[in-house]
Subunit: 396 residues, 2 copies
């Protein structure tokens, strides 16, 4: 099927597959007046859905709602808002989410329990004004539903994103489309990561769930921009079955992984204030879990991240970071390369640092643990002046 | 004894107690020409010592050496250098540490195995030039040994420190003195933390070890400036017994804790680029371990740290951080206060944010978990433009 595959960085996103309509409107939640409420509606014939959620114990009201709503595997629509996280807003906030699902369900003539809700923005935002605007925005968005609405929807979920993120993967007769917002990851997440993925393939909720967990485990879960886990992260996958084609589940999972990897790279490339997109490749680990732990320890090390910002291939900080893990390896056997130049060999200096050019944005760090045959790749960003600026000014 | 106690922010540090001599000299390890080799020598009559080390598995050569040398509880001297960490420098680097101890032992007419070595600076630094300068510096420092040398020694161990850190605690007839460098903590550490503490009290090595572990567990171990663990951290405690007085062990441990807390506060106050000294007090935890885990999760959260830099009392980021822990508490029962103003009550907004003034450098965040009777305090700093600048330019 590879010959038929096509990866589009943009495209219509969630409305690229048949059987979906979407819209995005401005409901006044953002002080800028930009679009802030989006809806994605599944017109069927199938109404299958699956979702994965933040693993943070501090979960926003839309997460608490959607975790219940997804249980039966039936999803008619997803309502998403930016401009307020509706997290730690008490029972009033949960009622807001509930009312949002009810309002959408009433208009669509479906059950409220089949409407998922996602929110993103400042924690603690969710008062009467917020509720009124979200409900009005939901109505307005549903009134503008269109089979071409994927672009508008992707713009309405943006927060600190500098551009909308969409991807489309096409196979033989069926399509997967997706949109994402956020400059982070599923767990943990820099800013809330919201993703909606649609397909017109014929798959049931259990199959979608299996494929979604396989795909997110090696894409969004391995994007670790700043080590901070959001309260609102949610990735939702909807199938309309409108293509009439039932793909092989492995083939579907691979295509879905390709799409999620594309969206994850778009998130990485737009991470708040970042000046480098860093790929940390951990090779010859004793297990995939070890490789992920080692990669993540580097991705979360502020001294490493500031060094990359300064174009400094500081391999010592890599070793100091991985020395804090419980992974199986001998710190004095490890090789570390930056952009193809091996600076550390068996725990001692190798090539001179000035052979490494870190001025390009893409940065590759390879850590060879010499402890086995497993490997994993973690995506992260550098820690910059702009990161500090954007996040210190976020709520003001 | 409280009436007799006296806490001095400066003083002579390690030479304040009887029975110790010290010195600090410039050996050319620092490109600035500033002092970079220090020695502290115990003149006895006792030669008891104890030490705690970084828990990083990637340990520098001086750590590997000192961990062996401390085993018999006998310490004659400590040689410390800044201007190079001698970490990941291979067997040549270990030989440099070994030769440093041998050179000092030869001059002092003691066993090399009773000389501890500490290094701080860039990882990967430890070539022939480094070795020659460290050995020459050790000789030069030992030639300048003086009972008033504590100040010079404290200056020679500085790296990015803006000022030297010393403290003295006096009790009835005996004294504890200490010096510290670094803008971090024992485990983990922003920059390497090196501490030497001396006392003229009569205590054996086992007693020193017990008191040292008690003191560091609630002081240096709870200072978490940037979540990064050094390869070279070491805290050494030496007893000369020169006062002839044998204190009650509990009383000594309390006095030692007081001194270590003072030095830890000095380290926090001089953390790289910081503009706020943040005290995170976790109350009503189910256990001390839970309280420490919760406090540390906030101390390491970049979004929280950048918010404080921007004088933004962003309690939502506190809750998002603690939601990632395994500690026992209900996220929707928690209260969070900033500088005495309760912004979040039972997981919902309480007082308005603008009642909080975060312009002063000292910042108090209280997290009431409502889950038990234990508590713990973690000290940290904010994440600032200057932190990014200093750490991106460190090795250049």
């Amino acid at each position: 099927m590879t010959a038929d595959s096509e990866l589009a960085v943009t495209g219509e996103g969630v409305t690229a597959p048949q059987g979906f309509e979407a819209a995005g409107v401005a409901a006044g939640l953002k002080s800028t007046g930009k679009p802030d409420v989006a809806v994605v509606v599944n017109r069927g014939p199938l109404k299958a859905g699956a979702a994965v959620f933040t693993s943070n114990r501090a979960k926003a009201n839309p997460i608490l709602w959607s975790q219940q709503a997804i249980r039966d595997g039936v999803v008619e629509a997803v309502v998403l808002n930016s401009g307020g996280a509706n997290c730690f807003t008490g029972s009033f906030g949960f009622q807001t989410t509930h009312q949002t699902a009810e309002r959408a369900a009433e208009i669509l003539q479906v059950s409220p329990g089949d409407v998922l809700v996602c929110s993103t923005g400042l924690i603690g935002t969710g008062d009467e004004t917020f509720r009124a605007k979200v409900l009005a925005g939901t109505e307005a968005a549903l009134a503008e539903l269109s089979p071409d609405g994927g672009i508008a929807a992707s713009e309405a979920i943006m927060t600190t994103d500098s551009h909308a993120k969409r991807a489309v993967v096409t196979r033989d007769g069926w399509t997967i489309g997706g949109m994402a917002k956020g400059a982070g990851m599923l767990a943990p997440g820099l800013a809330t990561m919201l993703v909606v993925v649609t397909t017109d393939a014929v798959l049931d909720a259990k199959e979608l769930d299996t494929a979604l967990r396989r795909a997110t485990a090696v894409t969004f879960d391995r994007l670790d921009s700043d080590g901070c886990m959001s309260t609102n992260d949610q990735v939702t996958l909807l199938a309309s079955g409108a293509s009439g084609i039932r793909p092989d589940l492995d083939e579907f999972a691979l295509a879905l992984t390709e799409l999620c990897a594309d969206l994850a790279q778009q998130l990485q490339g737009d991470a708040e204030g970042a000046s480098h997109d860093i790929t940390i490749q951990v090779t010859h680990a004793a297990s995939v879990a070890d490789a992920v732990e080692v990669g993540r320890s580097v991705a979360r090390n502020n001294l490493f991240k500031t060094a990359i910002f300064g174009n400094d291939p500081n391999w010592g900080r890599v070793l100091a970071a991985i020395g804090t893990t419980q992974a199986s390896f001998d710190p004095y056997a490890v090789d570390v390369s930056f952009n193809g130049v091996r600076l550390c060999s068996a725990g001692a200096p190798d090539r001179p640092r000035d052979e490494v050019d870190l001025t390009p944005r893409p940065t590759l760090v390879v850590i060879d643990l010499k402890a086995g045959d497993a490997e994993a790749t973690i995506l992260t960003n550098d820690l910059t002046h702009d990161y500090v600026h954007e996040n210190s000014a976020y709520s003001s």
